[in-house]
Amino acid sequence: MVMNGKQHRQEFSVNFMDFIGAGQAASQIKLLLQKVGYDPLVIRRASIAAYELEMNLVIHGGGGALSVVIKPDKIELLAEDDGPGIADLDLAMQEGYSTAPLSVREMGFGAGMGLPNVKKNTDVIEMKSEVGKGTWIKAVIFTKNEV
């Protein structure tokens, strides 16, 4: 895939509590980034962040949209939902804090590492959330003009 300095955007629909389909969007994003030809470490960071954002949409957001935007100097991941929103963003960013139900924890999620993992694997994270309205998260990985 040749980007020619243009941006490429792809959006994936993510369904609420769909643990069979969950991870497909992140998997597709990983394949896309591999096609572009990024460094394996960049792909790994973006894939992990995308997967955590996708799981958040599945578990907390009531479903939503996960997008990847490939720009000449960065990869942007966008997670948008019309779910219940996050009352305290600082608390949500804290390792170990989780509001996930027991059924989700039994599947290996809900350890309170989701958003901290997104932060750890990306260079910039922006979040907006309103209780009762939804959540918008943008996570950016800089790529040193690789494409």
């Binding site: 643990f19 991870g23 894939s47 992990i48 955590e52 599947m107 290996g108 750890k120």
Partner: protein
Amino acid sequence: MRLSKVKILLAAEVLCGEEYLDREVACAFGCDLLSDVLAFTPSNVLLLTGLVNNQVLRTAELIEAAGVVFVRGKRPAPEVVDLAKERGIPLLATDYMLYDSCGILYQHGLAGCKKE
């Protein structure tokens, strides 16, 4: 350590990916928390877990794990094995507990993952 040695040491059944058993694993991580797997493992890791849902496979795929060992005699559903075949991830299953499995592999020289 090669996966073929892991198979022997853990008396494991190979559920799929027999063709990948000559793969060399860098280190091992034993865990039932997938977010911790995402947070703390490098690529080429051997993942040992008691979870058998398809998210284990998604996680293994995204971190580029060398293989997965299901412990405590647990077996995933056929769809999970199919996904692993599709993604080229070898799956092993052992009757040993997680602690014992890790102990046996560690004793034979397979180190844990270092925290970044």
